[in-house]
Symmetry: C2
Subunit: 274 residues, 2 copies
């Protein structure tokens, strides 16, 4: 039993799809979310910058008595996870491994699609991880840079010409390749599941990075007897590095519940001062 909190960070909102899964599955865990929206998006930053940001995010969470860190940011998971893990005194969970493992396991044909931001796709991190679990898999990847801004504008619904056109355009190659599993390698993408499923067809299984990572963490906590006491009522705390109001509006959309008035602003830099 371990009543310390679980820390989750992302460059912004996307990690809330992991947070939501954790909250739903584990109502007695304390969970702290940090959205570094003051420096979002990480995707276009250099590797050195991403590593520096990831260290600062982790340090913030470590000051809150946590038992594990979930790196719910695809960019950090693909370019800085080794660095963060090697420096961190508690276990660190990135989104790549659990998601790749699940995709490798559920695909019947071994024909697997991977979508994500430009940087995640270019890194090849998901490809390498899937091939480690399933060396004969045939992989088809595609960067979908407009998905994040479209999700953040709420353009996620059936019948929206813009999102439907962009989905068709980005995913046509993957549909032609007759994949049976599609890895959503960015934590914003689960909000597009309906539109993506409509286009890809109902038998293509969608694997969501945020949700799989949350499930994997739960499994690991159970295996190591590190779950919180079952009679405890869990708390959730949300921190951002800028513009709490803007975050709250969209966060409620990602979390599927209203979190207005509950988001606190923090300065990662100031917190470091003694």
């Amino acid at each position: 039993m371990d009543n310390r909190a679980i820390g989750v960070f992302d460059s912004g909102l996307g990690g809330l799809t992991a947070m939501r899964k954790l909250v739903e599955a584990m109502p007695n865990e304390d969970i702290i979310y940090l959205g570094d929206n003051g420096r979002v998006p990480y995707g276009g930053r250099s590797r050195e910058t991403v590593i520096r940001y990831a260290r600062e995010d982790t340090d913030f969470l470590l000051r809150h008595n946590i038992k594990a860190v979930v790196v719910a940011c695809g960019t950090v998971s693909t370019v800085a996870l080794d660095t963060v893990s090697s420096e961190c005194p508690v276990p660190v969970f990135g989104v790549v491994e659990p998601t790749a493992w699940k995709a490798a396991r559920v695909s019947r044909s071994g024909r697997i699609g991977i979508i994500g931001t430009k940087r995640s796709v270019a890194s090849g991190a998901y490809d390498r991880a899937i091939l480690r679990f399933r060396p004969e898999a045939q992989l088809f990847s595609k960067a979908c840079p407009l998905f994040v801004p479209l999700v953040e504008e709420g353009r996620v619904r059936r019948g929206d010409t813009v999102i439907e056109t962009v989905v068709r355009e980005y995913l046509a190659e993957l549909r032609d390749a007759r994949i049976d599993t599609l890895l959503l390698g960015c934590t914003h993408y689960p909000l597009l599941s309906e539109v993506i499923s409509d286009y890809m067809g109902g038998d293509v299984r969608l694997i969501s990075a945020g949700e799989e990572t949350a499930e994997y963490l739960i499994k690991k906590l159970r295996e190591t007897d590190a779950l919180a006491s079952p009679d405890k009522r869990g708390s959730t705390n949300f921190y951002v590095t800028d513009n709490a109001e803007g975050f709250e509006r969209l966060a409620s959309f990602f979390m599927g519940s209203d979190i207005s008035g509950r988001v606190k602003i923090t300065s990662l830099e100031q917190e470091k001062q003694p």
Copy 2:
């Protein structure tokens, strides 16, 4: 005569539409561009954060022996220009006043549209400035949040369903309002001029924030005898705060000429150390 340089800054790429105009019109001026792409976009940041960033950007330019600062960033121009101007030892030019003045002057009917990012439109800064120059003007404004990501993905051409759908959706009210002048209150938008003009009709005059600001600066330098020596050959220098390669690719698209290999990375924070 004043051979010191002109400093231009923006949160990222957009200010290059002003830079381009300056370079074309004044080949003998030295011009320094700072794109703070390490912290882009400013649009979603709080007012305090935008002011801090603007101060750091201005300080960087002031270390390069400049005679004027062009704030080619709509967000800074609308929320931090007074602060920056009052603290800066050389004249500071924002994008709002020159653009509003031009729109107020060229409109025949006084029915003027204003488009920009959410923050710029919500600030009402363009509205107030136009009404100062033309109190009886009728203004119609609309935030166009997807224009920036679409431009940055190169989705600017006729026949592109996505940009055409988004343009139609955002601008329908303005077209119905029979405006005769449309103020492009974001320095990314000139790249959409063709698609916007197709939809709005050829008699709607488009006024571009970046270009008008450049023209206004030229006029002011001329009036104060502060132009560079006419026999001097001007230089251009580009600085960014992160990921120079990513910037160069898009910057060449904005500048209309190849600037590969010419962009230097700088750290605004490190530069401040003695």
